[in-house]
């Protein structure tokens, strides 16, 4: 086997050194009742060639066609990734290294993550960022747990327009900790209704997502003000960070924590993972922050360098008192995000965000003209919700037959959203692509 360098002679000589008669002998400590009764039922070994063929078959060949005709977002976004990023990221010094526990031989990763933290904090208008968490959903859960620690309160208010999967993860993380979760309902315009907050007491945190699950841009400032009044932490989350290329940053709107998913920033969709859990907050809270963090320091001779720091928050030092149990995070994805942000630069990310918005606006207008109803009137970024023309029967299925995935059906998430579809348009969809969808939709009315 090409990954196992040992020749028979080497094995013999090493066994000799070790004082064992054969390889099985190394396992004499394993009691009989812990041993398998038969070898695991696993096919293979496959040669490299049979493997890649098998994998290519599984991966199919979506080609330019099919992917192009899906208008899916809702937590994963199809953005272009420069070839340059792939090629740099795959340098084995980055990709095969472990967590940079030993700073002197890990300055590449460490400076890279320090830069990530800096860019991300700037981008979201906050003061500090950690080195990453698993994904947007667990980042939100960790944010709320942090709010509980900071405020020593056990209640959080969550917008119903936070991605339903995120809410489910939050529940999974929070319930065992005895945290009570209340939900803020939806306004007719597609934004979150803050009114329930007026009477809320003892809140550790108020959490909203913007753009929210319906694609609508929330007015964050009022939530920020409300949180300040209640001495709760304002938590902003997001599934589409690119929106902050153009929107006011969460920090500027009063967020104490801005967290969410970073997949849009140079990371492939990969069927939902790996992603990047982004977590930024204010300086005062840094000792309650979950996850690793890189800090600047100097070496013995005063030369600038970077190290993992504030480890006393972490599980390997604090064990059951740690701010989180996280260890391995999403380091390489954080590096992609830094590369991506640096590739775009300030003006680039603004322009790209604008283009996303404009393309979505184009499709939305087109669909409206083709007979669809736009469900919510609040401003959107690159996602919006529509209902197909009432006269069309099984519109979504019929479009699917034409090879088009016209968004995500929302009915399964909430009965009030029955018949509504969440569509996403990024810079990867051309006007011609969209025109084809619009054309098909306008045909829906006509009899087959």
């Amino acid at each position: 086997m090409r990954y196992l360098p040992h020749t028979d002679d080497e094995i013999t000589s090493m066994l000799d050194t070790v004082g064992a008669t054969d390889l099985e002998d190394l396992y004499s400590a394993i009691p009989e009742d812990c041993r398998p009764t038969r070898p695991p039922d696993i096919p293979g070994p496959l040669s490299e060639w049979d493997l890649i063929e098998h994998m290519a078959r599984l991966a199919g060949s979506p080609g330019a066609g099919p992917a192009r005709t899906a208008y899916l977002g809702a937590g994963r976004y199809d953005h272009y990734i420069p070839a340059c990023i792939d090629s740099l990221l795959s340098r084995s010094e980055f990709s095969t290294a472990y967590t940079p526990y030993q700073p002197e031989v890990s300055q590449g990763t460490l400076q890279g993550i320090y830069e990530y933290q800096t860019l991300m904090a700037r981008f979201l208008g906050l003061e500090v960022s950690n080195a990453s968490l698993y994904d947007g959903a667990s980042a939100l859960a960790e944010a709320l747990l942090m709010a509980v620690r900071v405020t020593r309160r056990k209640k959080v208010a969550l917008s119903r327009l936070i991605h339903p999967h995120y809410r489910r993860v939050v529940e999974t993380y929070l319930v065992p900790a005895g945290v009570q979760v209340t939900e803020l309902p939806q306004l007719e315009n597609g934004r979150t209704d803050p009114s329930a907050l007026w009477d809320a007491e003892d809140l550790a945190a108020v959490a909203v997502q913007s753009p929210n699950f319906l694609g609508c841009i929330e007015k964050l400032a009022p939530f920020g003000a409300m949180a300040r009044d209640k001495e709760a932490l304002m938590v902003t989350c997001f599934t589409e960070p690119l929106a902050y290329g153009i929107l006011k940053s969460p920090g500027s709107q009063g967020a104490h924590i801005a967290c969410g998913e970073g997949q849009s920033l140079g990371i492939p969709m990969s069927f939902g993972g790996p992603g990047l859990g982004i977590f930024t907050t204010r300086k005062d809270h840094v000792r309650q922050m979950p996850g690793r963090v890189v800090g600047k320091t100097v070496d013995k001779e005063g030369k600038q360098g970077f190290v993992l720091t504030l480890a006393t928050r972490e599980q390997h030092i604090r064990r059951d008192k740690a701010t989180s149990n996280i260890c391995t995070n999403s380091s390489l994805c954080a590096l992609s995000a830094a590369m991506y942000m640096a590739a775009l630069g300030g003006s680039g990310i603004r322009e790209l965000a604008q283009l996303n918005h404009d393309k979505a606006a184009y499709l939305k207008t087109g669909l409206e003209q083709a007979g669809c109803t736009v469900s919510f009137e609040a401003p959107f970024f690159n996602e919006f919700v529509i209902a197909f023309p009432g006269y069309a029967s099984k519109p979504y299925e019929r479009l699917m037959e034409k090879g088009m995935v016209a968004g995500l059906p929302l009915g399964t998430y909430d009965s009030q959203w029955e018949g509504m579809y969440l569509l996403c348009v990024t810079e990867t969809r051309s006007r011609a692509d969209m025109d084809r969808l619009i054309e098909e939709v306008s045909r829906l009315a006509r009899p087959e």
Binding site: R76, G112, S138, P176, L332, R431
Partner: protein, 485 residues
Amino acid sequence: MKKSALETGMINEEPLLWEKGQKGRCAFSMPTRDVKRVPLSPELEGDVPDLPELSEVDLARHYTRLSQWNIGIDTGMYPLGSCTMKYNPKINDRCAGLEGFSGAHPFSPEDRSQGMLNLMFRLGEFLKAISGMDAVSLQPAAGAQGELTGMLMIRAYHRARNEDRSTIIVPDTAHGTNPASAALCGFKPVAVQSNDSGILAAEAVAEVMGEETAGIMVTNPNTLGFFEENIHEIAEIVHAKGGLVYCDGANLNAVMGMVDMGRSGVDVLHLNLHKTFSTPHGGGGPGAGPVCVRETLEPFLPVPRIIEEEGQYRLSEDFPRSVGRVHAFYGNFGVMIRAYAYILSMGAQGLRKASQLAVLNANYVKERLKNDFHLPYDRACMHECVFSDQYQRPHKVTTLDMAKRLMDYGFHPPTIYFPLVVNGAIMVEPTETEPKEEIDHFIEACRAISEEARTDPERVREAPHRLRYRRMDETLAARRPCLTG
């Protein structure tokens, strides 16, 4: 910006990103605008983000240079104990990069996602077969999240039986994530000490196992590199009192095909695909920490789960007793691809052989270094061996000093000061992919350092000497945190 010319040799200095570039550069190829500009309401629009602006060559050089300051598995032996730093096959990266995988949207209709679901389903089957467990969830994004998921299931199991157990037994050799994960689920960790042989005695467990105890979290093979030989008896004790046995399977690399976790009495087990199954660690992730369970715990697995029906796969959330979700989607699919590719490349026999050679390499290191370094538990080990700095302490040379000095010899240091039960621990895990020559070089370097500790301790204490950097001041970093630039 550098002020004056520096003699850097071939490894360049490189400023921070925002000290590079110029306003007006852009390394991104802006897609053609084919729709008209529709301004957003000014009330929503923020300032242009403050991000550095670079050309593609700036970007390429920045990260190429940064990469040169890192050691990776392809540069040399990386014997970090407990981390299983084995070689990461390139073909697996190619598989993960297949456009059909990397471009797949998690909400793609099921009939467009059969390949992905099939892969995940089969990977789950493989992990069950390797571990001897009955059911599996691939959702956890890393080992610690696997632990959390497992502990949530244990909690749910007890609740379903209307029991509210509050404590969990955690041995002193456990990894920090174990107590942290348990605590997240509201369990109070109760410590239990390992015995003179570095493993748990059944009696010690019996002593602390009570009716309020939810179970035990045991790492097997443990972090001292030993197989918990009493696991079966321990499981019986725990089960007898209504508790469950959680196994941290981060060290499975020692025992693939050699141990049946189910038979040994384990109820819940997490695995680290980024250790045992060769997926690259990425400088700290992403990983994947699937959790395997015994049949009794299956109803509590996270949703969605993949259901196979007549060769077709679908996702189902229809498991009312599930602990819920721990990930926004299905876990780290990109990592799963690599693990799946690895398992298929090895086959059952190959995995078994890999474990055997991992154990051989560790024992070889142990035997050849034990005269130079104190071996607190002088017995055959599994995948790793743990030394201490006891022989060097009289010369005022510590584990940290020796770790730094190893860098001068071109090696990534072993894991140090863990597990906590060994004072000044030096934990060496070579893994099976290390060729004998590399291990021999490592041994020579360690011996040279042991010699230096006696003859020139200052040289060791002041290490590293041969890198771009001298020793980093970690205290300063923590005392005056500077986390952004």
